[in-house]
Subunit: 213 residues, 4 copies
DNA sequence: TCCTAAGCGAGACGGTACGTCCAGTCTTCGT
DNA sequence: ACGAAGACTGGACGTACCGTCTCGCTTAGGA
């Protein structure tokens, strides 16, 4: 089954040091970095974007403010980086049919954005995007790029199968698959559910079906 | 031609309480109220949501801070009220054809959200929605309700004409018409143009065409 | 026995201007005036000079702020007027001996400034004098002038009796009788008691005794 | 000649706590402290007590308001500390005669309190004392304690010489030397001059002369 | 008897300062 | 040679009063 997993963006970076190794004279920079990102995410989720203060992060992470600013240039950069931590790594579905593939993809997205934890995070994230092109770019390349890539593969496959028009406007297709979901999430506040997933997929298949019907 | 007009939301001030409602003391200044709302909007448009400070509003409106807090309980409430001032009143297009009607509607929306003045305002507004359910509600009932109404009329007309399915999911149709536009505006940052309008309308007409086509 | 009494300074309200001075409109309310003065004194005594706000007076007196400013030009003027209300009217003692007279006078003063009610009032009053020459003048002519007069009479009598030098520096004698008391009250904070009264009187009698003693 | 000098009250910073008292983090800036005290004194002298605002001090000292509140708990505490800066360090006169000594001391006091700069400061200071026991205490221990010490020495010397009674009430003597001066400064507003100094000293010498005259 | 001017309680007005909170920077000490 | 702790400047926050300005309502004298 198709799965998006919330993964820790931590790179392999040091799987070592389980056997009681006290870093006497050496910095524990990576530990601080992770504590800060963790505290940032935790506060974003519990208190919301507005209540997120650098001082709060520093206190929760048991870290000096300067250490935060040593790693990130601004509050925005920190948030941007923290958000990267919850990138959805999208597995490209392969169910054998175009409809099955698209439905799997949409259902996965529905699942992600229904998760209360992400639902709490998203509005703040959008606020951050609204005020920082930098964060916007990070979200786009982090949150969305994977999804774009997956959709593109699916669309190519669908066109190859003759299920969709060869002249398909990829950009529009992306917006139609993603737009309604975010529209509900951010603007209308209506339910994000399976009915939405099915509706969008059906619309795609019918609306972008090859002309020579 | 279809037009959205910025209208003043000032209303008849509640005719609902006839029984003896005379507050004592000097009445609140409508002039101050308007100056504050005007300053708020001006600053929202020029400087953005983050740069909007109560002190800035007070200075620009030549008003004491206390007066602002006397009229509105919070910054959010002020912004919410200011936003009410720029409700779009949507005229329902009637071109004779379903495609013409939908295209007129979408093109109007494209025009509105391409307007640099609104483009500057919108991200801040979304940020405000993200952090205040109150503002979100106002935006939904103000900005969007008119649009919903217009779309509903058009869809009914299209179904009556036999251009769309009678079983059409209205909610989905609304999201498909609006979602891609906001998705580009808030998330992907891609161009909002006539191509988008045409693409969405064509998709609707093909994808929601009656089954026995 | 010698007595200082707190008297109401209310006077006959100037019968001096009979020639055609009748202001039009509603006359100013004497009740309001008295309520304001009463509230002012009460607040001065309980809360102190700093906690005395015009708004507080208005609330306590159940009066509009404008009414206060209609009667007095400033906060200082109000306080000045309120202070007039508690003028000490000093009775000149006549015990038959200079020592008895001076002692009676000093003991009366000691009694007055030990009274907790006056003790609460005085520091604020001094604060008011410190910042308003107007109030200072009122205090001087109200609180102190009576006392000066009494002392002058006693000194004259003492000189006539031959108990004090005929070349006595009256001004200095006044300061010596009053200074130590206020010095303790305002600066050193030490006890104002009978020992002080006796000490000062003895000092006077010995220090200002006729030279050919 | 006897001199009072304005000295910096900076002290050895409490040698009383030897057991390991090193606070973590950046230590408080002595430069900021001094800038704040300097600005406070300057404003006290030029603008007066009432015109002294924390914001004004912060601006003049080029310091954040928070820094002021970090160093002093209140406006009063700040003023109290600022006043300490102009402590008069009294040199004990030694002219060879009791009269010469006392006269030197009184003339020094007269000189200090005639100085227009101090005269401007004093009323505000008294106002501050009136409203804050804390300030009162600081003034007593700063402004006055030195003076008390000097007077005590002089009185002891005078008693030893047989110029004053051995049973002299020291407390009363202190009040008689200081009271008239402050009485004029704060209450009667009369001139503080050499005549006052001479009068008080003569009174002391005669009034407190040994009994067996 | 009505008219009209001024005073009344109430409270909003433009301002100034308050004392607090964070942002982002800088400084010290301990490990 | 870091890193925690925390002080630094700066600026907005929301509150308290200042002295002024309406409101709708007395309260009186003069028309």
């Amino acid at each position: 089954m198709t799965r998006s997993r919330v993964v820790n963006a931590k790179k392999a970076k040091a799987p070592a040091t389980p056997p009681a190794k006290r870093p006497r004279g050496r910095p524990r920079s990576e530990a601080a970095r992770e504590a800060i990102l963790g505290a940032t995410l935790a506060l974003l989720r519990t208190a919301g974007y507005d209540a997120l203060t650098i001082e709060g992060v520093a206190e929760r992470a048991e870290v000096g403010k300067k250490t935060i600013y040593r790693h990130w240039a601004s509050k925005e950069a920190l948030i941007a980086d923290a958000v990267k931590q919850i990138v959805s790594e999208i597995e490209i579905p392969d169910t054998g049919t175009t409809k099955g593939d698209l439905l799997a993809l949409m259902r996965d997205a529905v699942r992600v954005y229904r998760d209360p934890e992400n639902a709490t995070l998203m509005p703040g994230l959008v606020a951050a995007m609204a005020r920082s092109e930098r964060i916007a770019e990070i979200v786009r390349s982090g949150f969305l790029a994977e999804r774009r890539r997956a959709i593109t593969v699916l669309l190519d496959r669908a066109v190859a199968r003759g299920d969709l028009q060869s002249t398909l406007d990829r950009e529009l297709a992306l917006d139609v698959l993603g737009g309604p979901l975010f529209y509900r999430l951010l603007i209308t506040g209506r339910a994000i559910d399976d009915r939405l997933a099915r509706g969008v997929v059906d619309l795609m298949l019918h609306g972008f079906a090859p002309h020579s019907n």
